[in-house]
Every structure is written in structure tokens, then in C-alpha cells.
Amino acid sequence: MSFFSYIKVETSRIFQSKSTWLVMVLTLLCPLIGYSVHQTAVTATTASFVLANPVLAGGLGGGILFALLALYEFDRVYKYHTDALTESITSPLLLGGAKLISLLAAALVTTVAASVLYLPYTVYRMGVVFNFLEYLDCFFILMLPSLWLSILATTAFYQMIRRVDLSFVLFAVFTFFSLSPWAESEYILRWINPLVPGLSDDFSNGIIFRTAVYNRLFWLSILSGIWFLGLLCVRNYRKGLFGSFTHNVRKAYLLELSIAFLCFGVYLYHAEPYIDHSPAKIYGSGVGGTQTIVAMDSPYAEENSNLTLVSTQLETDIEASRSRLKSTAVYQLKNSSGKPQECILQINPGYTIDHITANGEAVSFTDKKNDHEHMKDIAVSLPSEEEIRLEVRYEGYPKIWSETRRHLSGHKIEKDYVELGGIHLRPVINASDEGAGVTGEITLPSELELISSGKTAQVIQVNTDGTKTWRIDDPSGSASLFAGNYVKKELSGSVAPIYFYYSQKHENKMEKLEIEQILENTITYCTNQFGPLGYTEVEPFSILETAGHMFGGGSSGNLNIMDESHFSEDGFINFHSGATIADSISTEIIQTWWLQGAMVMDAENSDWTNGGLSVYAAYRMAKEMYGEGYAIENHVKEWEKAWSNMNRNFYVRHPEYANILPEKYIADLQVEFSTIRTHAGMALKVYKAAQLIGEDKMDAVLTELYQNGGTEHPPFITWHDFLNACGLKEEELNIDEAI
């Protein structure tokens, strides 16, 4: 009988076994648990809830069940003492291989069945955002390999030690390792529960699947290596482990295969391509008292004062389908020293520099490969000429910062989504750059709409290869780019135009949740109450929906960024700033007024930021629109809850324990407390002040502060400016008594 005949016999036998069917049915049921209990993917998107969580639960549950089945199947011949019979007919090595393949086939059939079974419900729940290819990726990259790896691991263990119980314990340890915090942040180590921080509904999830494929490749080669090693340990002629091994090892190709697989696995581990090697740092420290101090060394290279940057020009070709870019950056520099200079270029570690020329001549450069804070340094020798045209050609893709590897978040190039900026788009030079802007020509697939900070991006050329070339111009020099299948809407309520960009896929939801209305109301309120933002028609203010992998929101020049979870029913609700989606969105928009329209800062009171004022303003707006009852219930009560909950915490009551405890244990807690202090806590203080002086007077105080700025230079509005404007003393705003 040939090997293929054995496979045929084994496969048909395995599909006739009742235990196989039991395991298959139970595996099919495992994803059900993921709908409620197993919350691995945390980003609040529909895809996370109805696709990622069930599939991950299926992989974990199915992995354990198939491990049990594999042990049962491999142990059968020895349990019923039929090994003497089977081994007289065929080699136990061949039989081992055939059994493995039949088990892998059973796992494959189960996954196919699961993908068919859950298809209707997933399509129904996801609606227009359903993407069939990503659905298949979920089942065949996230779930199926978990089952295969479980089978490979248990059978390898069993072949070596030939005891069911001990093999199961080894498997349990191996699984526990994957689920433990030691592997939590390392996507490459998590073999049974691949790292899926969340699936985006509206944009591509390429990075999640690319890292998962790499993880699968790594473990398949390592475990195949171990499996072939295990095959060499299969007992022969009633010999023991070593006797059988010396007999089996005569088949040299088995040993060679095993070593080749293992070496390939080790190579894959070392050549890991997606995460940079920046050393880890803990941000945040001691809750002692009321302040949180964030210590961080400046990651930027010291400025070379002999060099002045006049302008930067980019010519970038974004190959979205390959998730890479090729680019040339041209810097116009002035060298005032009259001597050769060395400058430092800093760029994301995922890029490689191909070529650097200065005034047309190639110059020497050293890539220091010193990953730190999401960048690496490149030292370049510049000539002594006064005017230098430095041309840098580079290519590659942005790597993920090791600090954020747990969330796989960062700048990215996907086939339907691009998010690049700063050192992730081009090398930043350490020359003094006052007023030096960035211009550029960016080539992108024609279906993507480009949005850039600074002036509105314009199409300058439609190319024959299905791409378009856009012109960008950001006089501030920050140059942030976003591209996707965006819908552009102009929002009313302001003097200069304000644009809102969101994914085409999200159009129905945006209409259903009346997001545009919420935004327009907020803009109208802020413009009437505080005054207009300082943007013009040429450089308009834009609000942008981004992929869920970036978490939360922020702003970059004239772009206000909010991730997609802000705009979904299952959405992101920041309990410090209100209870509903509308409140959360309004707060984000109001923050722009208090961040870019006026600057709020106090060197002596770190809790005094734009956060507290924006949260308070969102309450005032809600009160005007929906009435006092609603505003108090959804805003003030929420702040009070967060504040009193924080004050009940042990470490706030006993800061002395926070001081003696090693920092790593409570770093996250401190970051959370810091947000509560700056947002909920400060909002409560402003609210109390408004109760003392009257809410209308408070509105006037805020308007005045916004329009006239503060007393400290540059015009920062300090905590004392606020107190003086209200005519109150700090002691009067003690909020602990009020709650």
C-alpha cells in the first residue's frame, strides 16, 4: 500500500468515528461563546463583535478539542493493543503521517463548515460593511491554523513521550503560554489566540492578517520541525525511545527535514518584519499627591544650528496594494558655517535609504539602525557649499512602534487606506526649520481620495496605470496624509468652510445616527459661543473618520481625527465626558476650539488642560439643546461617578503605598487617573464655579478667555487666569465636599 492509500484509509476511518463527529460539532459551537464571553478583540466595531470574537473563540475551543481528539486517535492502537498487528503490516512512521494528515483534513472540513454556518448571521449583522475576503481570512488565517497547530503540537508530544496524560499536560502548558501575559503583546508568540486588537468595519485590516500569517508560518515551521523529530521517536520493534530513535534516524531525510523546518522557524523569528526594536519605556509615574509626572527623554537629534531648512519637497509613490512606498525627498538647505557638516535624518525604522545626493553628487551616509522611539537615525556628511540641495531616495513601509505592538496600531499603508505623517512619511532633518513648509506630489490608486494637512490636496494628473497624482502643500511643515474611499461633506455653522470626511461604507450609519447634525450643532454652538476657528478657505478645518486601529482621536494641524468607533452604535463612549455618542463627538470637536483656538496650560497645575473646559462646554451645549435634566444626568452625574470612583481607589486614599510599589504594576491606573483629573475633575470644578457665579456669567468668562487669551506668554490661559476671571479663590472650588 502506498502512503496515499494509507491517507485515504485513515481519512475515511476518521470520518466514520463518532468521537470525530462529536469534536467537530462541539468546535462548530465554540464561536457561539465568542458572541458573549470571549472578548479578545476590544475595539468597539461590529466586525470585532460579530466576526473577530467568535472566530477567536472557535480557534481556541476548537484547538483544545482537536488536541484531545488527536491524542485519542494516536493512542488507540496502543490502548487496545493492536499495535503488534498494525506494525506487522505497515511502518508506524507512515501510519503516523497518514493519521496526522487525516486529522488536519478533519480540522479543515470543520472550519469550512463553520465558515458556511456562520455566514448568514454575519452578513445579516454587518450589512454593507461585510467583506467576504476578510470573512474568509478570519476563518482560514485566524481559526484553522489554531486547530492545525494544536494537532501538530499534541501529536509531536505524544510521539516523543507516548503517554496521553503527560502529552496533555505539555499541551496545556503550551496553550497557557500563548494565553499568558508573557505572550500577550507579542503577536508572533500567540499561536492559539492570534493577536487581534480589533477589526475595522470601514477600512482594510491588512496588518492584522499579515501579522497573523507571519505568526502561523513561524509556528507551522517550528512545530513541523518538532513533529518530524517526534516521528523519529516513534517506537519500533518494541524498542525504547533511544533505541527507536537510532533506528529511525537511518532515514536521514526525516532528520534533515526536521532541522530545516526548525532553522526556518528560528530565521523567521529573527527576521520579524513588522515591529521596530525601540527599547521599552514606562511612561507616567507616582500618584503621590495630585500630579502625574510623565518622564520622557527627547527622542530628537540635537539641532545643527549651522544648517537652515528652507523647504522640503516630496515625490512619493504609494503602492497601496503592496503596502509600501517609494519616495524621494528634496531638502533645500543653507549651510552658514562654510565647512562640511554632519546632519541627522530621522525616519521610521521600516524604511531603507537607497541613495543620497547633495547638489547632484552622491554623499556618504550611515544608517545607525539604532531604533528608538519609533525612529532610527541616519548620519549624512554634507559638503561645505552654502546652498545645498539634498536629495534622499528611500523605500519601505512604516513599522509598528514596539510600545504599541500590543494594539498593532500605527501609521499604515493598506490597499484601501493610507495614514502617514511626520517621520513615517519622510526623513526629518535636524536643521533649524522656522517656517519651512512641505510640498509634494503623491501618487495613489485612483479610487482613493487624499486628505492632507495644510492646503486642500488637488489632483494634478490622472495616470494611465490606474493611479492619480495629487499635489499637497502644508506651510506648517507637519504634512499628515490620509487616503481612503472617503465621502466629503461640507458642514454649516461656521464662517470658513468645515469639511467632514468619512468612509463610503459608513454612509448609512452616519445618516442613521445623524452624525452630521451633531457636528453642525457643535460647530454652531462653539462659533456663536466662543468665536470662529482661525482657518480659511485655502486651509480649511477638516474632521476625518479614521480606521479603528489608531484608537481614540486627536488632531494634526487643521485635521481633527476621530476613529470609526466614535460613529457606531456599539461605539466608543468616554465616560469622563458624557454618556452618549453625541456627547462624546461634541467633546472631541469642542477640544479643537480649546486646543487650536486658545491654548490652555498651567505649569503649576497639570490638571488644567483643554480637556476639562471642553467637557464642561459639552455639558453647557447639551443643556441648551436637550434641557437641564438630560445634561445633569448624562454629564455631571457621569463626572461625579468617575471622580468618586477614583477617590475610593486604594492608591488615591493611600498614596504612600503607590510610592513604595514598583512603578510597573500601576502605570496604567495612573494614566487613567490622570485623565479623570484633567477631564471629569476639572469639569466638576468649572461646574462648581458656574454654580457660584451663575452659568451665564461663566459663559461670558469662557468667551472672554477664548477671545483675549491668557496672561502668560505665549498666550496660555492659566488656572489663575480662570480663577481671576471668575473672581473666585481656589479653596472655593473644592469638589470633594460637594460629592
Partner: protein, 252 residues
């Protein structure tokens, strides 16, 4: 006594126990440093609430060790030598109970390791060494769960030894299911929610009080466990006597 010593040695001196001991040690540290260090329900990390929460998080792994011990009773080798042990002039019920006692001592041993890790953590990181009150959560959390699962293990192992292995993942799941206080065998939701409903005591810490319904619940679990153990042990001897009777017949 000698037999008890042998049984205990069989439980403790093997590769599983050593492996599980290492896992328990690492897991204990992880639970302590990840979750308990933050304090349960805003209480101190070294309050009885947090310590109880720690024990309830540790229970799944401790119970899995217990189930491994139970699986030894039904292992293949054990089944094969049963015929010999049955011919000894020893009361089989007594032998069964003796084995269960040895399993309980094994469980206590591994629990001591886990509790030891937490006490060490408290002493090193919080300089807290007043452990005199910690016995109450230990008794309340560990003993009923131990008796209950020992009972269940003994019974389902008799039906089929493989069921013991299937029970193991269920033990893990049970720790995450929300349950009313009285039925909460592991106590995780009890330790998390109860302190929030209590008035603050001195220093902002709610006092450790256990409602009557929880006592009743725990006693019920323990009683069911004891009943199942005794039933399992007695039932076993009935079955072996039957096989005794049949065997000579078949050999003739």
C-alpha cells in the same frame, strides 16, 4: 497510615505535580501582579476581599490539579492492578476514602504554594505581614470547591475516565460565569460586587462580612461534595464485588 503515605507520595512525586506546581507558581504571580495589585472593588490589595478574589482566580488551576489527582484513580495502570488490590484483605471503601484524603492533602499542598506566593508578594511590595485574618477566605473559598469537585470527579470518572479531562476546560469557564452570591462557588463575583454594596469602615475600607446566604450556599456545595465522594467510594465497591462474582464463572 503506611498506605496513606504511599498514596500521597504517588500523588506528589510525579512529573505532573512538578509541572503543575511550576504553572501554579507562575500563574499566582501573574494574577497577583496583574489584577490583585490594583485592589478588588477599590479595597486594598491586601484586604480580605482582594485576597478572596485572588483565591477565586487561582481556583481553576488548583481544581485542575485536583482533577489530575482524581484521574490517577482511573488510569489504565490503576485499572490493571485493581484485581490484585481487590484480593487484599482491605476494606475497599476504606481504601477509597483513604485515597480521597490523600488527594485532598495534595490539593492543600499546591494551595499552600499559591497562598505562599501571595503572602510573599504582600510582604515584599506592601510590607504587609498581618496575615492572621486570611484563614477565613481560604476556608470559605477553597474547601467547598475542593469537596464539590472531588465528588464530581470521583463520580464522572467512574462513568468514563475521559470525562475528567473534559471537565477541566469547564472549570476554567465556570470562573467567568456571572452567578448570584449564594451559588457562586468560586466567589469571583461575590468578592467583586459585595464590597461596593457595603458602607465604608475605618480608612475607607468596607469590613469583611459574609452574608448568611453565602454560608448556606458554600455549605450546600460542601455537603453535596461529601455525599458524592461517599457515594462514589461505596458504589465502586459494589461494582467490584459484582465483577468478582462474575470472574470465576467466566474463567471456568
Amino acid at each position: 497510615m503506611k498506605l496513606f503515605k504511599y498514596e500521597l507520595r504517588r500523588n506528589l512525586c510525579n512529573k505532573f505535580f512538578v509541572g503543575l506546581l511550576i504553572i501554579t507558581f507562575l500563574y499566582s504571580y501573574q494574577v497577583m501582579g496583574g489584577e490583585i495589585v490594583l485592589g478588588t472593588a477599590n479595597t486594598a490589595p491586601f484586604s480580605l476581599w482582594s485576597f478572596g478574589m485572588y483565591l477565586s482566580r487561582m481556583l481553576p488551576i488548583l481544581l485542575i490539579t485536583l482533577l489530575f489527582f482524581v484521574s490517577f484513580l482511573y488510569s489504565r495502570q490503576e485499572q490493571e492492578v485493581r484485581r490484585i488490590t481487590e484480593t487484599t484483605p482491605m476494606d475497599q471503601k476504606q481504601l477509597g476514602l483513604l485515597r480521597c484524603c490523600a488527594i485532598m492533602v495534595g490539593f492543600v499542598c499546591i494551595s499552600v504554594v499559591s497562598v505562599g506566593v501571595s503572602l510573599w508578594f504582600y510582604a515584599v511590595n506592601f510590607r504587609y505581614t498581618d496575615f492572621s485574618h486570611f484563614l477565613l477566605p481560604v476556608l470559605l473559598t477553597l474547601i467547598p470547591a475542593m469537596l464539590f469537585f472531588l465528588g464530581i470527579g470521583v463520580i464522572i470518572g467512574k462513568i468514563h475516565p475521559a470525562f475528567i479531562y473534559m471537565l477541566m476546560p469547564l472549570v476554567f469557564l465556570l470562573g467567568y460565569l456571572p452567578m448570584p452570591n449564594a451559588l457562586d462557588l468560586f466567589g469571583s463575583s461575590f468578592f467583586q460586587k459585595m464590597p461596593l454594596s457595603l458602607p465604608m469602615g475605618a480608612g475607607g475600607e468596607p469590613a469583611f462580612t459574609v452574608p448568611f446566604s453565602v454560608w448556606i450556599g458554600k455549605t450546600m456545595y460542601a455537603a453535596i461534595g461529601v455525599f458524592l465522594i461517599i457515594w462514589g467510594v461505596t458504589c465502586k465497591s459494589d461494582k467490584t464485588q459484582q465483577t468478582h462474582k462474575v470472574k470465576p464463572g467466566t474463567s471456568i
